[in-house]
Structure formats: C-alpha cells, structure tokens
C-alpha cells in the first residue's frame, strides 16, 4: 500500500504524457549530438573544399612563397616537428619523474597535496600566459633568442602539468598487490619502479603524453609570442635557429588579401589535422598493444 503511494508520487501524470516526455528526451539528446557532429563536419567539409586542390606532395616539401602555386608548408611542418618533439623529450621524463616522486617517494603529505593542487591548476592556465613567461624568461633573460629551444621549453612547461596528472593517475592505478609482492620478494624501490610500476603504468603515461603533445602541436598563441609571425624558407637545422610552426603559417596565410592564400591556409589545416589524427591514433594503438602485453 505504502509502495503504491510512493510510486504514484514519483511517476505522476498520464501514460501518454509520460511516453511523450520519454521520447522527446531522447530526441533532444539526439539533436544535441547531431548539432555537434553537424558543425564539425561543416567545418571539415568547407576546409576540404577550399584546400583539397592545393594539397600535393610539393605542398609538403616546398617553402612558402608569394606565388601561391609554388607555396608549401615544409619549414612550418619541420618547425612543428622540431619544437613539439623537443618539448616532449624535455617534458615526458620530467613529468614521469615528478609523478613518481609524488606517488612513491614523497613522505610529506601537505607538500604533495600542495604540488598536486598547483599542477592541476597550472593545467588550466591559458596557453598565452606560458608564451609570455617564455618570452621574458627564456628569450630575453636567458638570452635564448627566438629559437627552437625557447619554443620547445615553453611548450614543455605547457604540457608538463597534463603529463604529470595523467602519469599520477596511471601510477595510482597499478595494483598495490603487485608492488607489495615485489617488495616481499626482496626487490628494492628502484626495482619495483623499473620492473612493476613503470611497465604497468606505461599505457596510461604514453596516452597522456601523446594527447598532450598533440595539443601542443595545435598551439598558436604561446609560439606567436615567442617567434612572432615569420616568413622563413628553410627548416630549423639546429635548436638555436629561428622557426615557425604550422598554426602560425596557417594564420599568416589566412590574413593575406589574395583568395589563393586562403586556399593555402585550408590546405595547411588539412595537413595539421592529419598529423593530429595520426598522433592520436598512435596513442590508441600503443595503449592497446601495451595493455595486452602487460596482461599476458
């Protein structure tokens, strides 16, 4: 009797109205997701229509040019690879080391919480702020100039918090039993880290690292502050060379008056998207492979 009352209280209303409400909710949700997909595909379609004609092997190997037919994205492509690659080489070891310290070594709980809290906050700082820090600290105070290494260190700052947070989560997910088992067999801390924790946390660490790196490759704001908009004909040959990256080259082309230049920027966007998707795919494949290996 009491149950009956409760049910009526919770699900009041006529049957037809309930069914209508039920259906309309699923319709509204469907509408939401289709709007998102619609805008994304509209964006992709317009970019492809504008840029597909300009895509060719020579677009990848030519330097930018005032003659649109000869223009390419080579220096920017290589610049992106240099800067983002170096940033990953700098940030990943430091990030993993920080995560290991926070999870395995630090004994001071308050310090650990403080560092972790600040790291999560840093992950939300607008990227242009990192650019300004890089400009005043690296470019001017340390005298690195508008170089690849200054850009790479700036991007390393930018992706470091994300890598640390992802690595901490991955390391925390390693079963305590495995660690304790290893200790029980007489393993040292270093051995436990090298043989148990890192291999098991590797998929998570790699996913976090690659995803944050692919965020870095699309960043324009911090590098705009560091390198400025630049016309440059050859790829960096060394870490102290000046450079430009793909988002900046795209920005440069789109601000030109000639419509051909805007087609070039669309082609540049396609190359950037392709690189991004490749990196994300690599993250997924690596994760799946490594996960299987660990389970076996």
């Amino acid at each position: 009797m009491g149950n009956q009352d409760l049910r009526q209280g919770l699900f009041r209303g006529s049957g037809a109205l309930l069914i209508f409400a039920d259906r309309s909710v699923s319709f509204i949700l469907l509408l939401g997701i289709s709007l998102g997909i619609l805008f994304l595909s509209l964006l992709l379609i317009t970019v492809f229509i504008d840029g597909a004609a300009r895509l060719s092997p020579s677009f990848l190997t030519n330097p930018p040019s005032a003659t649109p037919a000869k223009a390419g994205i080579y220096p920017a492509l290589l610049g992106s690879v240099w800067v983002v690659g170096l940033a990953a080489i700098i940030a990943v070891p430091i990030g993993v080391a920080t995560a290991l310290y926070l999870t395995e070594f630090s004994k001071n709980e308050r310090l650990r919480n403080l560092v972790y809290f600040n790291l999560t906050n840093l992950a939300g700082v607008p990227s242009v702020v990192y650019g300004l820090v890089g400009l005043s600290l690296l470019v001017y105070t340390l005298g690195l100039g508008r170089s690849v290494i200054a850009g790479a260190i700036t991007l390393a700052f930018l992706i470091l918090p994300v890598i640390v947070v992802a690595s901490v989560e991955a390391i925390k997910a390693v079963p305590e039993l495995h660690k304790l088992g290893a200790y029980a067999l007489g393993a040292t801390k270093l051995q436990v880290i090298a043989k148990i924790i890192l291999p098991e946390a590797l998929p998570g660490i790699l996913t976090g690292s690659i995803l944050s790196t692919s965020r870095a490759i699309g960043e324009a704001a911090p590098l705009l502050v560091i390198s400025g908009l630049l016309f440059i004909r050859d790829a960096p040959r060394w870490v102290f060379d000046e450079f430009t990256v793909m988002p900046l080259q795209i920005f440069n082309w789109i601000s030109r008056p000639q419509p051909e230049m805007r087609e070039l920027s669309a082609a540049g966007i396609i190359v950037l998207l392709a690189l991004l998707l490749m990196m994300n795919a690599a993250a997924i494949i690596l994760r799946n492979k490594l996960q299987k290996r660990v389970i076996e």
Binding site: L190, L229, R233, P257
Partner: protein, 345 residues
C-alpha cells in the same frame, strides 16, 4: 640493484647530461661562428676592373609592418633563389613592434609603413643604433564603403576627422551630412599597433594615435574587408593592397583635401595627388649594413627589383628613375634623405 651498480648508473646519467650540455654549447658556438663568418669574398681582377665573385652566406633578420611585409617577402624569396646560402627571415610585428626590436639592434631591417618617431629616435640613439631610411613603394590608404552605399560620393578630410576623432559625436550617417541616411554607422579600422593607424590619425585627425575607440579594430585587414562587404552602413580604412584585391566587393571613396575629390588610383597614388598616399620604408641598421656584405647585397637587390616586385603584391612603385638614383646614392655612401629623391621628377 646493488649499491655500486646504482652509483654507476647515476654517474653514467650525470655524464650523459654533461655531454649533452657540452654538445649543445659547442653546436651553438659553431653555429654562431658560422654566422659571424659572413661572406667569403674573392676578388678577381680582370683587365683593370674589379669583379667581385662572391659566395654570400649568413643570415638577415627582418621584422616590422604587416603592410610592407608582402613586398619584403617577395623580395626575400627572389633573393634566396639567387643566394641560397643566405637565410632571410621576415617577421610581422607591426611597424611599432618592429621598431622596438630594431632600436635594440635585434634586427637588421625594419619594415615600416611610417617614418621613425622621435621617441624611437631617442631610444635608438641611447642604444647607439644608427639607420638608413629607404623608401621602397607607395600605399594609398583607402577609405571604403559597402557596394550598396549609393549616397557617399566623396569625403572631405574634415568629415573624416569628424567621424574618427576621439569622443566623436558621429553615431549616424546623417550626423555627417543631414541628407545622408538616418541609420547608425558601423566603423571598422586597424588597431593601434599598426602603422596604418598611426598614419591615418596623424594625417586625418591631426595627432598620431588620437582616435575614437568605439569601432571594430582588427590587425587582420581581411576582417575589415569582410565587415564592409557584409554591412550596408559600414565604413572602414586600410591599405590599398587589400582594396585592390576586393575592388568588385567594396567601393573606395574619393577624398577631398581641398583640391577636389581624388580617387585612389595607381596614378593618383604614385604622384601623391591622392591625399592619403604614403611612402613605405625599410629601415636598415647602418653598422650592420657596413659590416655584413649579405645585408648590403640584399638592400641593393631590393632596390633593383622593386619596380617589378612592388606592383606584383598590390602596391604602387615609385618611378623607375627613383630606384636607380637611390641605388647610386647608396653605393656612393650617401645615406641621408632618400625620401627627397622620390619627389624628383
């Protein structure tokens, strides 16, 4: 891992770090030495004439105006096709932003869409930086309206001042001339970092930097073109190159500065008859011009090729005779007042 092993691993890691740092430092020294090396010049004497066969190398750093950028870019590209070992980079920081770097000696050349300002001269002198000012082409700052705008036939400078001065009371078209539509006017213009803004405010409003601020400002001139193209009651000003490419989509308004309404045509801009014509410059660091043969050659190359390359990117060149004279002056070591040469017939 046993203790000695750990120690060995640690010392190996430390050693690797030190080697890495040394490698970076060494590479840097080598690369900066290579840059300092500049050009290898071989002088060959053939029947009394000095022929200079030169393998130019090194680097040239250019920054500055976004208006001048397309010209310098096309020159730099042609130059590097001829001298592949010289690395030329051209930045876009705006005239003022570029001068900030130029007067510290950071850059070899600054692209400028206005002349250097007294405050910049002062700081350059403090830093011991001297320069050569070289006019390289002309831009006619264009005032444009929508294609459907059928009421505006001409603006006087006084009317433009009325519209753009600080705290301007102009809200509607009818505030300018009573017979124009009683509809709100939508204003577009470049932002305060651009030389175009400096030139317009100085020559129209009367004071460099003095402008109303309630307008849509963008350093990207395409945004301004798109704004005017879309809005019937819009008004904007920007460099001629952006108007030249969009002639069928927007309309440039003739300007009256007391000598009748003058349209911004190539001919009117070239002869400075169009009131908002302005020379475009490159500023070359004088010490570096004398020390770096590759920079010297680049500047000469610029003047030699400007008559063909300047119109290619939508700007108006000076008469060809100017470039020849300027080149001769530079080669003779006369660096001052090249601007006066442009006014010679």
């Amino acid at each position: 891992m046993s203790k000695p092993k750990l120690a060995a691993a640690t010392s190996t890691a430390v050693l690797a770090m030190i080697m890495l740092l040394l490698g970076v430092g060494l590479g840097y020294m080598l690369s900066s030495q290579a840059n300092a090396g500049g050009a290898k010049t071989v002088t060959v004497t053939i029947t009394g004439t000095d022929f200079i066969v030169s393998e130019l190398s090194g680097s040239i750093v250019i920054d500055g105006s976004s208006t001048v950028y397309p010209i310098t870019e096309v020159v730099a590209e042609a130059f590097m096709n001829e001298y592949p070992d010289v690395r030329v980079t051209v930045g876009i920081s705006g005239t003022g932003g570029g001068f900030k770097r130029f007067i510290k000696g950071e850059t070899d050349i600054n692209d400028a869409s206005r002349q250097i300002e007294p405050s910049e001269v002062e700081r350059a002198q403090k830093n011991g930086v001297e320069w050569i000012e070289i006019p390289i082409g002309i831009d006619g700052l264009s005032v444009v309206v929508n294609n459907d705008n059928d009421w505006v036939d001409c603006f006087t400078i006084a009317e433009l001042k009325l519209i753009w001065e600080p705290k301007s009371g102009v809200r509607k078209w009818s505030d300018i001339r009573p017979e124009w539509p009683d509809v709100e006017i939508k204003l577009y213009g470049p932002g305060p970092d651009s030389g175009t803004f400096d030139f317009f405010t100085e020559h129209v409003v009367g004071e460099s930097g003095a402008s109303r601020t309630d307008y849509v400002a963008s350093e990207d001139d395409n945004v301004l073109v798109a704004g005017v193209e879309a809005e019937k009651y819009a008004l904007a000003y920007f460099g001629y190159a952006y108007y030249a490419i969009a002639k069928d989509r927007i309309r440039a308004v003739p300007i009256n500065a007391g000598e009748g309404c003058i349209e911004p045509t190539d001919e009117n801009i070239r002869t400075f008859k169009y009131p908002l014509s302005r020379p475009l410059f490159i500023y070359v660091n004088k010490q570096k011009f004398e020390e770096k043969p590759e920079l010297r050659r680049f500047v000469e190359f610029y003047l030699e090729n400007a008559p063909q390359l300047v119109p290619m990117v939508g700007y108006t060149p000076f008469p060809e005779s100017y470039y020849k004279r300027a080149l001769a002056f530079l080669k003779a070591g006369l660096h001052d007042d090249l601007l006066k040469l442009t006014r010679l017939e």
